[in-house]
């Protein structure tokens, strides 16, 4: 650990002379970890406080400024056996935290109010059929009003705000009829209280608020949990760069600290961390994460390189340019804008229902009032009955129907290793009939692996793998990953651009290019079986072997695609890679409809063509070049290894090396969508029974309370079925994929 990481941009200096650093910690799995980490850090000189949050695996460390370098904290944690990554709370997440707390406060107020008002209301109901005096009843009604009015004013805010927003934009949503119902019920109850009437509806109003807030809070809590895990994963991925200072000194800094104009050194085998222009050096870069192209591109001075590319042979010096200046990125940005604008036109299921529901209910109430007046009732009675219709139809069950299913289903997805970015993705996922895959990094694994390991002599392979441990070359690291014995050989010499060699048991051992190992002959024969794979040769004494290295298919890709096809999905491939590289993969997976060499605009065009045929397309992709296509598709998924911009535009992100989550996601979404429709059906049946009763004037506050809590309970219980059989946890949040997570400060 010769270089120390400069973490100063993550450190928050506080007024009392202490410095504060937030870290996301990997590898916390038991209660003992808390004590180990906290007391371990307390032993460091200068540390004032270290507190681990076991729920979201984040550690807050405070120390007296100047007594400790932030990198020491990370090193100490590493020594204790935990990898820690500096963490910057994102604005979105803080905003969500605040909103969750606010909803919880509203929920507490509504809960308090509904319990106490129910106490008073039950006394009145039982008193009304026995011997309550009108004075006691009035007293109870006044008390209920005293509790309900401030409680609704406070706890109703989430609904008031959302309804106001919708109305201001000329739309309606479910909150509009809710707010109208609440306000009318409150007004009529106050008037009835003043008139010493028998019935008030304070209890119904507050109970309604309480149920609805439960749904909202659960929805928020689920989303917050998902976001916390996702942003931990993002900080695990955070990479480091070697920055060249003006005096020529090289410092290791987190990527977040890089500014436009900085000079950065990229060694062979390192990933390029920011867009830039090459100042000096020659090399080849693998841009598969950017364009999907697996063939390497030669770069020299003045070449433009993109973040996410892997540097292969030579050391490069880059000047960082402002993001979005490359031709490719400009293209991507422009396409993204158009695609995102098109997508926002989707109207959610709940809002579509609300659009029909609100006018129907309000017309029903008006008809009730008019009919009662026409049949000779007093205006007071007619109004009370009409308002009873509004209260009983106040869409409690309807407003819970969709969010509760979403909460339960995103819980199932979470366990299957899929994080949702958007709540309405379920509705869109359920309608999917065509699935378009990107090839590189989506159908194949984002990392390289040896594909002909089975054909080689085991001893020879093991020796090659062990020798590969000493090389920094990216292809060698694919070989090195298979080494069972993790101890590198002694005295290994690296010949730049050729390979590594050493002497074992008196015999020379070489790993590298076929020429370097004198294995040109075997290499030529072996490459014929797979022309797109990269070749690594190995020789030991007289024995030679040739290893083929390539991005292998995800282990279950063939099975998952077969299942998907059996379920009637039309699977296709749109890849940015050369057609020669796509063809064998498509053949293996049995996909007939594939295209290679697609630019981002070509992908969008292909998606538009599918859309024009009336298909609903699920796009699965990971490269930067896929981002516009993900935004343009009906719904989209991306693996956690995808480029940041791409992940931001996907509706959901999945973890792990397997493709199974794609299938799970569709299954869970279909079940969830079915349950949403069922729930809306239940709410409809409830209204069909309740509205005629209310129309006839049979709805007393007792009936209203029973009907509302009954329908809400049924809808919620039905939503719980979305849990169903949880698919086998292929990669739960606890088992994070290792290769993706770049070690920090190592």
């Amino acid at each position: 650990m010769a270089e120390t990481l400069d973490l100063s941009i993550y450190v928050k200096r506080q007024d009392d002379g202490t410095a504060h650093l937030d870290l996301a910690v990997e590898g916390i799995d038991c209660a003992a970890c808390i004590d180990e980490i906290e007391s371990g850090l307390h032993r460091l000189a200068g540390v004032v406080d270290a507190r681990l949050n076991y729920t979201n695996h984040r550690l807050a460390v405070e120390w007296r400024d100047g007594e400790l370098a932030p990198a020491q904290v990370v090193e100490e944690l590493q020594r204790l056996g935990y990898r820690a990554h500096p963490f910057l709370a994102r604005l979105v997440e803080e905003e969500e935290d605040r909103r969750a707390k606010w909803l919880l406060r509203c929920l507490a107020v509504a809960g308090f109010a509904s319990m106490n008002i129910m106490l008073l209301a039950v006394s009145v109901w039982s008193g009304n059929v026995t011997d309550i005096t009108p004075e006691t009843r009035d007293f109870f009604h006044w008390l209920a009003a005293l509790i309900a009015l401030p409680a609704v004013a406070y706890a109703g805010q989430p609904f008031f705000r959302s309804a106001m927003n919708a109305l201001r934009n000329g739309r309606t949503n479910m909150d509009v009829p809710i707010v109208i119902g609440i306000l009318l019920a409150l007004t009529v109850s106050v008037v009835e209280t003043v008139n010493s009437a028998e019935h008030t509806y304070f209890d119904s109003v507050v109970m309604l608020l309480f149920f609805l807030l439960c749904g909202r809070y659960l929805d928020q809590a689920m989303r917050r949990k998902t976001r916390a895990v996702a942003s931990n994963l993002a900080s695990f991925r955070a990479e480091v760069a070697h920055r060249m200072e003006d005096d020529g000194e090289i410092v290791l800094v987190p990527t977040a600290a890089l500014k436009s104009g900085d000079r950065v050194l990229v060694r062979p085998g390192e990933r390029i961390v920011a867009d830039g222009v090459v100042l000096a050096g020659n090399s080849e870069v693998d841009e598969s994460l950017v364009t999907g192209e697996t063939a390497h591109r030669a770069v020299r001075a003045e070449s433009q390189v993109y973040a996410g590319s892997m540097n292969y042979n030579g050391t490069l010096t880059l000047r960082i340019t402002a993001a979005g200046k490359g031709t490719l990125l400009d293209d991507v940005e422009r396409l993204l804008e158009n695609a995102a604008a098109a997508k926002s036109r989707y109207v959610r299921l709940a809002d579509r229902v609300a659009k029909v529901y609100a006018p129907v209910v309000h017309t029903a109430a008006a008809i009730t009032a008019l009919t009662w007046i026409a049949t000779g009732a007093s205006i007071h009675d007619a109004l009370i009955t009409a308002i009873a219709v509004l209260i009983i139809t106040c869409p409690c069950a309807l407003a819970l129907a969709v969010p509760v299913v979403q909460v339960v289903a995103s819980g199932s997805l979470f366990r299957a290793g899929v994080f949702l970015n958007t709540g309405d993705a379920f509705e869109r996922l359920a309608k999917v009939d065509t699935i378009v895959f990107d090839k590189t990094g989506t159908l194949t694994l984002p990392t390289m692996s040896v594909i002909n390991a089975g054909d080689l002599e085991p001893d020879l392979l093991e020796a090659a793998c062990r020798l590969a441990l000493s090389s920094r070359h990216p292809l060698a690291s694919a070989v090195a990953r298979m080494a069972r014995d993790r101890r590198p050989y002694d005295d290994v010499v690296e010949e730049p651009g050729q390979g590594v060699r050493t002497v074992v048991n008196g015999q020379e051992m070489r790993l590298g290019s076929p020429v370097f190992c004198g294995a040109q002959g075997i290499a030529d024969i072996t490459t014929q079986t797979d022309p797109v794979a990269s070749v690594i040769a190995f020789c030991w004494g007289g024995k030679q072997a040739v290893l083929l290295v390539r991005q292998a298919l995800r282990p279950d890709a063939r099975l998952v695609l077969q299942n998907l096809r059996e379920h009637g999905f039309d699977c296709r491939i749109l890849s940015g890679d050369r057609p020669e590289a796509v063809a064998p993969i498509a053949a293996t997976l049995g996909i007939a409809a594939w295209r290679g060499g697609c630019k981002p605009a070509d992908k969008i065009e292909a998606l538009e063509a599918l859309k024009a045929e009336g298909r609903k397309v699920l796009m699965v992709g990971d490269g930067l070049n896929d981002a516009p296509a993900l935004a343009a598709a009906h719904v989209s998924l991306s693996p956690i290894s995808a480029a940041d911009l791409t992940q931001a535009h996907a509706d959901a992100v999945f973890l792990g090396d397997k493709l199974k989550p794609v299938q799970d996601t569709i299954e869970i979404a279909r079940r969830a969508h079915g349950l949403m429709l069922q729930n809306l059906g239940i709410a409809l049946v409830y209204n069909l029974i309740a509205v005629p009763l209310a129309f006839l004037g049979c709805v007393t506050p007792l009936v209203a309370a029973l009907a509302m809590s009954g329908s809400s309970t049924i809808v919620t219980l039905n939503a719980l079925r979305a849990r169903g059989r949880t698919p086998a946890p292929s990669a739960g949040p606890a088992a994070q994929p290792q290769p993706v997570l770049a070690a920090l400060g190592a």
Partner: protein, 49 residues
């Protein structure tokens, strides 16, 4: 039944103090790490000198 005039408001006050206690605990960060609180209770050397 005159007793209700002060009994019911007293019951309400008790409920209100419960609500106030909840609000305080929420503001105080008692719910920030619920899983941690569940396991920390088992460690007996959590008081540092």
């Amino acid at each position: 039944m005159e007793v209700l005039i002060y009994l019911v408001p007293m019951a309400l006050l008790l409920g209100l103090s419960g609500l106030a206690a909840f609000m305080w605990s929420l503001k105080n960060g008692q719910y920030d790490d619920v899983q941690g609180a569940a396991v920390r209770v088992l460690s007996d050397d959590d008081v540092r000198t």
